[in-house]
Symmetry: D2
């Protein structure tokens, strides 16, 4: 695994736990953790349960005992590592967004296509929340009929304070974009996954409410400082991205990704209205899926709160009795389960790199629409 910050820790839970919860055909071995700082990566490896460490990610390419590379670095290094790993015959799990640009993502898809017997998966973990997988199953089974409306927001508030520092996620060169690529990517992927349809066109706006911020303490001597001359630097990404969308099947949608929704900590909320029913969901209450069955008489009907903890709900066979809820990190255990099964079966993983590219194309259309103040067709749609 390359990288050991937030995502590295979350993926490690998946690698450690998958065979404890599920009957998987292969039990993972956590061989090598890579990071640039030797002391820090050593500490992380011990904490997270990795056997060895390295400071150069290229070491994974030549190790015959490593079958799979898990990329948890910032988006600007995804393409280089993933392409090299695939070329070296490794399976790859790449954290989302697949890349910082469509061009990089395209190259990654080409690399995956050139290694058809290798699994190349992109880590949209929220698909693996049981409530989302159940929603997908219900929509595919026709329980909401023809989808008319999609309403998706991803609301956070961690940078509302204008004195919050200029971390890498607020710099375009590292992160590619701001709320759009970080959390907007999730709601683009999730809604398309749920509907089984792609977004065809968008009209968008983006906004940066706080345009400069203090440089992080540990960056005092870095080149960054020169951009402000006063210990502050320019925020080069969006704080918020809003867009309207038309889906291929005729549904229309509103989307909003923001880090300025005071009080909303991790409110990924999706509501879908169809001709026969509706579904609603919020990651802040991730064990619940709300369903309205429009085929029944309205006098006895209402949005019902399905506790997604029954044994026949997706992924729940590995866990606890009804009502004993799961948490955020379980999405990674499920992601790894699906990945391991794909590796063992020699089948493509879903979402694959092509799905990651398509999400990137939607995000690019959003960015272009916001920059040009015009509707934008999604390339490839």
């Amino acid at each position: 695994m390359i990288g050991y910050a937030f995502m590295g820790a979350a993926h490690s839970v998946g690698w450690r736990s998958v065979h404890r919860a599920f009957d998987v055909p292969l039990a993972p071995e956590m061989r090598l953790l890579v990071g640039r700082d030797p002391a820090a990566v050593g500490t992380a490896a011990e904490r997270l349960g990795w056997q060895e460490t390295a400071t150069d990610w290229r070491e994974v390419l030549t190790r015959p005992d490593i079958d799979l590379v898990d990329i948890c670095t910032p988006g600007d290094s995804h393409a280089e590592i993933a392409i090299a790993a695939l070329a070296a015959g490794k399976h790859v799990l790449c954290e989302k967004p697949l890349a910082n640009t469509v061009d990089e993502a395209r190259a990654m898809v080409a690399a995956a296509d050139a290694a058809p017997d290798r699994v190349a998966m992109v880590g949209f973990n929220y698909r693996r929340l049981p409530a989302m997988a159940l929603a997908r199953r219900m929509i595919a089974a026709g329980e909401v009929g023809t989808v008319r409306h999609v309403r998706a927001v991803y609301l956070q508030d961690w940078i509302v304070d204008p004195e919050f520092p200029l971390v890498w996620r607020l710099r375009k060169d590292k992160a590619g974009s701001g709320a759009l690529g970080d959390i907007g990517a999730h709601i683009v992927d999730l809604t398309q996954y749920l509907l089984g349809e792609t977004i065809e066109s968008v009209t968008a706006l983006t906004e940066t409410f706080v345009r400069d911020r203090p440089l992080p303490g540990d960056a005092g001597s870095a080149g960054l400082a020169s951009s402000s001359g006063s210990g502050r630097g320019e925020v080069t990404v969006d704080d918020a991205a809003l867009f309207l969308a038309r889906f291929a099947g005729g549904a229309v949608g509103t989307f909003e990704a923001t880090r300025f929704a005071t009080g909303r900590k991790n409110a990924l909320r999706i509501e879908i209205n169809g001709s026969d029913g509706s579904l609603a969901f919020d990651v802040e209450a991730l064990n619940e899926l709300w369903f309205y069955d429009g085929r029944r008489p309205a006098s006895g009907e209402g949005f019902r709160r399905i506790l997604v903890t029954e044994p026949d709900h997706p992924y729940l066979d590995g866990w606890w009795p009804p009502g004993h809820g799961l948490g955020y990190e379980h999405s990674f255990v499920h992601e790894i389960r699906d990945l391991v099964e794909a590796v063992a079966a020699g089948t493509p993983a879903s979402p694959g790199f092509a799905d990651g590219l398509q999400v990137q194309q939607v995000l690019e259309a959003v960015g272009t629409s916001a920059a040009t103040a015009a509707w934008q067709k999604v390339v490839g749609a």
Copy 2:
């Protein structure tokens, strides 16, 4: 109508509005409002829409143009007025609790029995909330199966402050009891109404957390002051009453009525669990009824929030389109509708005085159980 405080104002809404919302066979005329203070009753009559006023309630007995007497006074005068009114050939609506003691209630039932062609109704208005009437209909139709559990609380917080004054509702001589008779009576009546079954036995405790309070400003020279000698008087009723109950049909219940539930303003909450389903309700969200259908597979089921605003819901034919909620006062419009229909049809009203007596007997059993620390059978059960 006798009395014009909180309940008088609420009943007046019912009298003014019933024929505006519903096709009732008789349109009420609001003839006479009675109160002891001539100036105050005059102001109230003009505000509430009553044609004339009087200061002696006995005037209603001899007025041939008055067909019905609505009693909104404190509980200690209910019996005297109701019995006289029935004897004078008037229909009677008496605010709950029917009386302060079982003996008084018994005399009132006797008076009602002696006037079989007069309607004698007790004002348990919460039965007339559409959600409660719908719950009754669903339970009677078997939608929850055999009831196993009843969970009923009525939580308020208006006397949490120990400096809140010693108003009449905190004096046993005026109010009969405290939370028990004032709000506990509602949950006793409602749960018995919903189940169509009576409570057979109880074990209870009552508590008075704040045992003396400042005398109200306008009571300075009254006899009350003597009980404290310092501008404070003794609280002679319960602040809270809690009990367990067994119903005739085998269900068991927990009940709690309190004025010390900080932050709960008017939380009358009832949950009923049956062999085939469950219902839940809260007056603080009075347009909603929650239903769990246990006859369907658990994987697709959850408590559903029925917005009780559909045209085929009880009482909703008189009101607005779906989703346009009603308020607390509508319960009184519905109460008056049912009363007027009973008067026109010459049929008994429900709940009648016998129902009021039965509730009183349950409350008495609660009081006795609390005093004796022993299970108590409800007299008559």
Copy 3:
């Protein structure tokens, strides 16, 4: 009052009740109800409490005993009636939307300007829900700081069934537009009212999911039938309207008005995120306002559910103790209260016709943006 359907009934509640709940300087007299069908208007007048009836609305112009005209007709007749009434020296309350076109609305504002001593009010009743008035007060007091995000939806589902008939609200000639003018107008007005700021520009889409519908039974012989030849007619308005907006003060917003949100009966929902706090509201739970105070430590903070039933909440001095909720219709009582007070004081009412025009201009910009697939500046902004 002209018109006696849904809005006519709702306004009548206001006229009947305002002086029963509040100390208003003038008690309204409900003189004349106007409708084209003499039998129907007679029945309605008796039901709703109006003294006389007429079949020609022009009768109100010449009646010296009529001081105020309340217009509850479809939007295509608002301008003609309002302009005539103002010219005849009457005060006017006009149901929203002010008119079906900006041109009509402009003429109405001119008429109001020409009668400066007459009150000309437009009926955006949701401003008068206590929770909305409280939200306005809190935002004005700075409790959310600088507003960053507005998230407003108005979701209904009454025409999801494709066999629901082609009623007047689905015809452009009568209604002007569909969801946009009927319910979208409310969220445009409410959000601008809450922020005290106008919308400056929009990008929009509209959609008509069901393009033809059965003609209503009673329209069999009307010209409408010719448009389908088969008992069906074309839907000439939008089923749904979605738009992004930029406010004058820098906030960005998403808006959605639809009649195709299966299971959402009357879900007017607004969330506002500011630099110091957030507010959230849903008409389906109209006695609640949710507030997050971002100025306090996050570890003890969360969205709090304020039950807007305290005596010091807006309009609550006229009603019941805490926790005894109000309903939809109370918004009309409050609207009439504010109107009567403006008439008595000789001050302009708010929202006045100019406010109605401005909302109309926003709606027009939305329509134009949807038609041209381009961002549109709001005229006058």
Copy 4:
């Protein structure tokens, strides 16, 4: 660890994860898993991550490489194992309830007292949910003032179906009691923990709604069958237990534990009302704690939903950013953390065996009260 069913799996998560999430002074080694069926225990050990297996629990007593014994068996074997383990110089974690009878529990406390340098902890895992630990911290800090009311239910529905088989949890000889000891024990422990006060007296009822059930399939040849002669056996424990309680500090409480609350899967709900504030919690939404601050003006106050996912919330330093919720199993990781820290520090663990005994004494008082229909003082209180 002895036992590998539901609790065994849950404890294993704790043992595997504690040093991955937290800086603990000792990293556990998962040495030996004990179970009677050699094949099954082998499979379980591999799944759950234990190094070796044994079929006789006594093997743990003589293994010098085993420092701590974790007892996850049914309640009837707790005393024997725990006493032997303590005598053999092992630390002990014993799943709740501590024992099936007060006598056994007393013997266990004596054994713990005789081994003062050994940690003897009882596994009330719900104390370790961050929301519950935060509630405890807030109550101890005076944020709710003097506690007046406790309202605690633990509602499940897994045996509502009368054809659900007669598993060991429904047999008094194995389980000691039914809902009372299994889930009632949790709410007794939790409420006492939260208040820092004990229950002094109770009045109770218990009920068994379904009195016989099919014998489990694999018990065909067992002695059980003889009790029915027809493939059914008698249910010898309570389906539901309800009681009222008085706490040492003057608070009063209602308690209910049931397996017949149709639709409630794992609804452990607690509400506490104090003179200055209130708290409410539900395990079905375990990342939320609701708080009402009664010291602030009611007009701006309401129950606030604290998402207990902030870094300064209890146990949250080991996990994810705000809003990324935890699950049920995390309570066991936290339990093991506290246990490991106690072992390392040589300090007693909390809750210790004496706490387990005290809970058992409350449960016994409940059982006695239900049997005698009289208030019962808790022994030792």
